[in-house]
Symmetry: D2
Subunit: 374 residues, 4 copies
Amino acid sequence: MSGSGFGKCFSVSTWGESHGEGLGAIVDGCPAGVPLSLDDIQMELDRRKPGGQFATSRQEADKAMLLSGVFEGATTGTPISIALFNGDKRSGDYKELCCVYRPGHADLAYDLKYGVRDYRGGGRSSGRETAGRVAAGAVAKAFLRELGITVSSYVASIGSVCVDKDRLDLEEVLRNPLRMPDASAYAKAAELCRQAIEDGDSLGGVVECFISGVISGLGEPVFDKAHAVLGHAFFSIGAVKGVEFGRGFDSARLRGSQCNDQYAGADGRVAKLSNNAGGILGGITDGTDIFARIAFKPTPSISKEQRAASSSGESVQLSVKGRHDPVIPPRASVVVEAMAAIALADLAIQSLASKVTDVKSILKSRPSSFLQEQ
Amino acid sequence: MSGSGFGKCFSVSTWGESHGEGLGAIVDGCPAGVPLSLDDIQMELDRRKPGGQFATSRQEADKAMLLSGVFEGATTGTPISIALFNGDKRSGDYKELCCVYRPGHADLAYDLKYGVRDYRGGGRSSGRETAGRVAAGAVAKAFLRELGITVSSYVASIGSVCVDKDRLDLEEVLRNPLRMPDASAYAKAAELCRQAIEDGDSLGGVVECFISGVISGLGEPVFDKAHAVLGHAFFSIGAVKGVEFGRGFDSARLRGSQCNDQYAGADGRVAKLSNNAGGILGGITDGTDIFARIAFKPTPSISKEQRAASSSGESVQLSVKGRHDPVIPPRASVVVEAMAAIALADLAIQSLASKVTDVKSILKSRPSSFLQEQ
Amino acid sequence: MSGSGFGKCFSVSTWGESHGEGLGAIVDGCPAGVPLSLDDIQMELDRRKPGGQFATSRQEADKAMLLSGVFEGATTGTPISIALFNGDKRSGDYKELCCVYRPGHADLAYDLKYGVRDYRGGGRSSGRETAGRVAAGAVAKAFLRELGITVSSYVASIGSVCVDKDRLDLEEVLRNPLRMPDASAYAKAAELCRQAIEDGDSLGGVVECFISGVISGLGEPVFDKAHAVLGHAFFSIGAVKGVEFGRGFDSARLRGSQCNDQYAGADGRVAKLSNNAGGILGGITDGTDIFARIAFKPTPSISKEQRAASSSGESVQLSVKGRHDPVIPPRASVVVEAMAAIALADLAIQSLASKVTDVKSILKSRPSSFLQEQ
Amino acid sequence: MSGSGFGKCFSVSTWGESHGEGLGAIVDGCPAGVPLSLDDIQMELDRRKPGGQFATSRQEADKAMLLSGVFEGATTGTPISIALFNGDKRSGDYKELCCVYRPGHADLAYDLKYGVRDYRGGGRSSGRETAGRVAAGAVAKAFLRELGITVSSYVASIGSVCVDKDRLDLEEVLRNPLRMPDASAYAKAAELCRQAIEDGDSLGGVVECFISGVISGLGEPVFDKAHAVLGHAFFSIGAVKGVEFGRGFDSARLRGSQCNDQYAGADGRVAKLSNNAGGILGGITDGTDIFARIAFKPTPSISKEQRAASSSGESVQLSVKGRHDPVIPPRASVVVEAMAAIALADLAIQSLASKVTDVKSILKSRPSSFLQEQ
């Protein structure tokens, strides 16, 4: 079955393996007339690139090629194909892994499912696969920009270190390599990371994603509720083990009178007095900000020795070599944004047909040729 | 757009409103030859029916009709249609709500999206919609039974009261109306519920779902990972605000060496020494149990007075009348099982084509007519 | 796999067997605000009902129930469920067919595929299945009516008798039971039918479908071209063996200079000087009428004796009993319209997102709640 | 909406424009373990390449790159990405067409739909787009080869010249540039082509496609009947105006006793005594050969002067320059095979879940890891 596509109307297909020829994405269903340049795409890919002391030392140029669907600076309504060729492949690093299942990795599951597996750097299950998502996400962001919707993110916790919500400084996100919006939390998390690296170990963390300028009416009852589609998108990112919206798991501990967002009338419109729901009610956006939290497990590749098994069912001791991020969330935050943007772009287009008056206003204004009597 | 369908191969469509003629589901894509009776369906619907002191007093017979797709006690491969007609409708209870947006409900969002809304009892956004899911889930369970897969659930917490994992008693789930597997926790939660009802308030809680007898190789890389599809399914249930798999949000606080499930060889097979991952690696099941936690917010309908707004944008004070469950998880646990079963049934069928050897063994053994020379 | 659904945005699912409890359809994705009544649906079903001397004598009331998705006379944007219960079932007529494969029928193919089969009246493969399509088609027509699009049809030929295109009289279609727009051709075709019935035989024929008021820009390059989606829709009707658009197979005999529809400028717009293409260019509608021809094979059920085989592989002589239309096109023309309407409704909604300016005009005008500082 | 994808399980997405950077396809859902090399793909692309006196003089190397999804000579179950870069682009040829609508082309329809258009060589609506289909079709053929299914085609008529069915010589197809299986018909058709070229005109024709080694049970009732999906596939090819299966339009002129394929028992199996149905009954294959005829209109690009119109609605006289095939079917026959193979591959995988016994035999035999008590 084909699981490498996402989206019903604004749809994305990705391809590629960690150590194959390259990877990329096709975006189909983006409306014509969206301003889009290679720079828009490259800028997002550059945000995803490893960098700094807390990232893998693999150096990939990750220069995108924009191969179709854009003409004279704007989309044409046809598929947008983006490709990146792999450069810094050191497949030799992985030869010894062909017959060993690394704990916490997809190795065993792929073998159980397919019987074969491109073991070089994790193949399709590598985090490198997300480059295609980020490229496609850049297209989604360009589309959402036209609607005034902005998708942002930061790292909210690394291991046991959480940012202090009372002193969030979003500009700080750009200043530190862990992308934490709190300089003091960053200092502690950095120390934690250094310690983990020294121990040949790794750390988990939480990414928070917030979307502003949201248009109301996005999300389709009953199975394609906005947070169901966003949840699908987030859980599709490798290493994600938990997702929550608004007050999330905390909601389960509240009473209705504490959790409900009460309303007030204001100038003929309806104002919410709080946003515990995270911008989504009954699965449909109401125009207030969407807020989600995404939990990442620690990087499974660690050099610390672990018990593992071979494909022939023998126990082995394993110390995973190769180049790996000791902590996933800083780079993954860009992927979270990409998936949020893709999901929201799709929901935006899905929602166009909600009212027949809207449908008529678009379709009846469309020009047309006609048959002339000769 | 059509959001009332779920599943790519084993697909479910539901229809119906709380106070309309009725509701139901079509299951398409169920293989031929699955033993299925009306009883299988009715039994699940009965588990979902309100009952006991902590549930709405609305009395629905919820007698299912099995209208197609079953012949001589087994499925035929054609669509299975199940319908329930609404009985105990007191739409009058809701007339006054036609122009008021209840806090925590979908009322406002539906109006923003569609411009119109069947306000009787929440219409399509009512929890009553889940009867269709449970009916379809009964079909999915019947199919999974053939594969040896079992889906179960219980209520793990109500408000601040959590069950004690060290003394889980699954038989206790059937004995108390809050479906908690711990008599002592139940006693405390029951007291909490009584207090909330007395205060005209409501409570949230967490459902835990575990799936055993899981077949390996379910889940499609990269966007239809098993937990992405399950996550989509769970988040599509009304009032769900958070979902986690395996160790979930806790994973984010662990180190790799703590979180990774290490392996051992055993008799030529591979054994896991722990199951922090909750049965899914790289989005693909490995055959061990799947474990998920689903957080529900408190029932939004409370009689306690709240600030609300009218559709013309005026502030009002609102006390929600009608018949409502003061706490959602006990009845929702059946819905959680239904959605898990539907998602897993779909993934099972999606995974049939993973290996060409399997494809050949099915297709090449199929009988065929042939053309005879005359 | 689930093949009982059609449409990506305006989607239809049908269920039901010839001699089961009943049959019906769910329409999901119809915009809110489309005026719709049970009468709209019943009227189309009545057009499909058998009647007259050239139709089966099975008498079905075919009274539709409209179960959801409509509130106060208009659609609400939620699934529209329509059901019909079977009345005049004489399953006994079919008992003897449980183990015999009727020539020209789906009996053998179903057994090869599923291993089991509801043999009563053809089960799911019966022409009776089309009642669900016609019900759904009535919803599609109600939607298209809002856009000014009209779908019509007539029977263009029965056996070797063709209507004379130079004297089409569309009102005649309503006057004769063969729905031919030419009284003289009708007279000859009626005689042919009488002869076939007398011989215990049946006849084929061609239905022509024309769609006017078409909106330009419907059809998605490259795989969902308008005539590809319409072609899919038409070929999904039982007994259809050929489909052509515009000049169709004739085009293959023409030169480019004869076949191309040339243009002229007219008041700043573009006029076509002919419509050989049948309203579709490059798979996209241009606003001129769509024209299609659909070929039906003769009714396979004939009382004339034929060579047949049993499920155990033995030769038998067979005379098919039961009640059957001796010629399919007159009643099938209503089904052709239904499928054309469903396909076009889906394409209309799919095309809403073609231009970002349209997307913005809809989404940016949508009302929204907002967060008020307390 | 996204129309550049085809297939539900074995799915193909194509991208690219005639004079952009290149074009290509992603195949997702191909089972793991199918032997596949770049040569398999290049061989099909070479068959599609222009050549000989009756084809465009545009010279494209059309060298495919196989970028993902294949490891050590076989598919891995992950997306297979294939790309071709454009070489011989003479976009200058098309500058003058930016504001003129060519008769018989998609120019006008694209402008009506999208408001913008990549006018260079037809952009996405160019016949060059089919290179992506042929590349994907090569993957489908490699998969079908494993099942013993073969897809073939030839040109059955050019203009008014038809091959003589009584003396088909399939080897002749490889010997003449018009791919006609009848040397005498070829000679006449070649003369017709020369005449058309001399007149600055073009010709239409019919391709016949036959599929042997077909597995029974392919095709899903009721909307995804085998010929509905194949019909969709064929009508998605540019310039196709008609499709028929088996006896096709001829069936409409027959009586049931002539058209029905009668059966005989033979050694415990069921033999058909004729194949008027073209291998499909009730939308499901029965194992006998599938036969289809596909009608192509004449190439719309002709140098003969025609009446045309500009985008500002003014009449112009137009002689289309550039390099064009004077007759489409010879090269299109390869595209017909590709689409047939893709559609059939998808139907084969869709049909895997028809019987629960098959599902069990695959899934229950799958290996699995297990949780070991420590």
